[in-house]
């Protein structure tokens, strides 16, 4: 059974086999698949729905039972913007008092053909309901408009919360990918003594690092595509700027956070240490870099600090391209900052990196 000298098999390139191994490990880890691919979609769905901009309407109106009640109910129901119910006097008033109705319509005390409106002048919806219902009822009673008007809906695509959210989620994915996929993964290898074991083979260290980064990029591509396609399919989110520019920013962001991940992993010797560092690095960015809301909501004094966080310029650039179709050239300061974060992190990580 001994192998004869000379009967050597051709081998795969180490770079390729390292990537293949990383991909296998990744797709065999259901938790990783969930957090990387499913979780961002859940965020798009949940936040997109929760903060959906609904057209104004659906006013709740009670009509006090009586001679006019059936006519009013008919007219308002036909209009479509009202939810109408007919109740006796006591019940109608209770509903108004408890806020379950925005407008109460009762027969006019002065003229039997008129109406009495009860509404809350401190509530915008209540005031609106009164104005709209009045216009509808007056027109039904044959009032003529003095001038002709036409309405145009002016909801711009790109102005909704979900449009704002998608670039933020893309940035958050890159942040998590770099820190978990590179930082945590490398510390895990170190703890398993596998890094040391690799070091004892002729495989070059640069090949290992490059393969780790490349596999990270491979996992990022479907992640980004899924978020873009899903949000487009569900909410019609599109990029105003070119998708090439978006792709370029994703690439740059991957580079940046791989560098930071590597730096985080360069010395950490325990899971506790690396988890602590990762949380300390990620938390400020989750809050302050504008994933879910604009960093401009923070006090003026901390703005320069937030602008300097590694994720802030990336999300800013993604948002500018996707929402305002800004050119990459005018984003040069942001791009330079991203590049600097990545480059400096890499340089420090390679200098400090501990293989064993």
């Amino acid at each position: 059974m001994n192998e004869l000298p000379g009967s050597y098999e051709r081998r795969q390139h180490p770079f390729v086999s390292l990537i293949a191994a990383r991909v296998r490990e990744f797709i065999r880890e259901p938790a990783a698949i969930f957090w990387v691919y499913v979780f961002p979609l859940i965020m798009v769905l949940a936040l997109g729905l929760a903060f959906r901009d609904k057209p104004v309407g659906g006013f709740t109106v009670v009509v006090q039972a009586g001679a006019i009640a059936e006519h009013v109910r008919q007219v308002l129901t036909d209009d479509g913007r009202f939810r109408v119910s007919v109740c006796d006097e006591a019940e109608s008033r209770r509903r108004m008092r408890t806020g379950r109705a925005e407008l109460l319509i009762a027969p006019g005390a002065d003229s039997p053909a008129g109406y009495d409106y009860y509404f809350d002048p401190t509530q915008a919806n209540s005031v609106l309901a009164r104005q709209l219902a009045d216009a509808v009822l007056q027109r039904a009673a044959d009032r003529r408009d003095a001038v002709t008007v036409r309405d145009h809906a002016a909801t711009e695509p790109g102005g909704r919360y979900v449009d704002f959210l998608v670039p933020g989620l893309l940035g958050m994915g890159l942040l998590g990918g770099g820190l978990w996929g590179v930082g945590f993964a490398i510390v895990d290898l170190r703890l398993r003594k596998l890094l040391k074991r690799y070091l004892a083979t002729p495989m070059k260290r640069s090949q290992f690092l490059l393969a780790t980064m490349t596999s990270r990029l491979l996992f990022t591509i479907p992640e980004v595509l899924l978020v873009l396609l899903f949000s487009h399919w569900l909410f019609g989110v599109t990029s105003q700027g070119s998708y090439w520019a978006v792709g370029f920013l994703i690439l740059l962001g991957t580079f940046e956070f791989c560098g930071i991940g590597l730096l985080v992993a360069s010395r950490a010797q325990t899971i506790e240490a690396v988890s602590g560092i990762m949380n300390a690095v990620m938390l400020p960015m989750w809050i302050g870099s504008g994933i879910f809301f604009s960093p401009e909501r923070f006090p003026e004094s901390v703005q320069p600090l937030l602008a300097f966080l590694p994720l802030t310029p990336l999300i800013h650039a993604l948002r500018s391209v996707m929402l305002e179709s800004t050119s990459l050239v005018s984003l040069a300061p942001q791009l330079a900052l991203i590049f600097a974060w990545g480059g400096i992190s890499f340089a420090l990580a390679l200098r400090w990196f501990r293989w064993n």
Binding site: Y8, R11, P14, A21, R24, E25, L194, K196, L199, T201
Partner: protein
Amino acid sequence: MSCAVHCSALTKTYPGKPPVEAVRGIDLAIDEGECFGVLGPNGAGKTTTIEILEGLLEPSSGDVSVLGLNWRDHGARIRQQIGISLQETRFSDKLTVAETARLFRSFYPRGLRPDEVVSRVGLEEKSNAWVKHLSGGQRQRLAIAVALIGDPALLFLDEPTTGLDPHSRRQLWEIIGQFRSQGRTTLLTTHYMEEAERLCDRVAIVDHGRVIASGTPRELIAQLGGHHVVEFSLTAREGAEQPPSFWIDLPTVVSCRHEGMAIHLTVTQPHRVLPALVERLERRGWELASLVTRHASLDDVFVTLTGRALESDVDSDDEEEPHE
């Protein structure tokens, strides 16, 4: 015969408070084609020494040459010709045995076929099982397979059989024996003296970071003076409490020591000691609780040299053969 591994005046001090002097001046010269064992108790400095030789640790001082090359200038060339297994490596849980072997095979420009190596260590049935689902002994064998994959001229094994069952241990001895029969060199560490006697052409016994004895197992045992050990215990307390000098004048006894309730005599000629011993016991009216005679082992060497027992957990599978 040329040297496969050579080191001189090797020291390693781990920084810290206080600093740990793990290795305090070790010289080794391992010939090509031999199986060399580094023996010693926990914390003796075995792993530190072998990792320095493997190029994984920087020594604090001293010279190392491996296959005639030094690590500083020829690291890449040395790595292509050595195979190692660390004391503890946890391979990726979610890769299979075959995938792990193929991954490591890809690191070597020349080497063996992954499936061939996997079956050589007896893991062909587990070839498609995830590493996660292997038993401790199977993982150990995978580590050996990975050590062999680059078809090395020199094999470093750090405690390759610790935690293995007797059967797996023998299987591993066979693999190493086969490797040696191809004229290749093995350096292994162990704290099983018996394993070293079985497997190694030469051994170095290390304690507190120094080599306290080295040579062939036979030579080391010969240094004891006697080649046999008579081990007995008595029912009578009075007898058991006699000082060593009480027994040393029996014929051909070289040394005597107590180990718990048992008395160990190192002797050159058991057939002359035994009648004299029995006669003395009869005269005193003491009864034997147990009596065993056996060949002296490296364990005895270690105890003689350090005054300490090496490892109480020598759960060796091979019964020490009583003879006579």
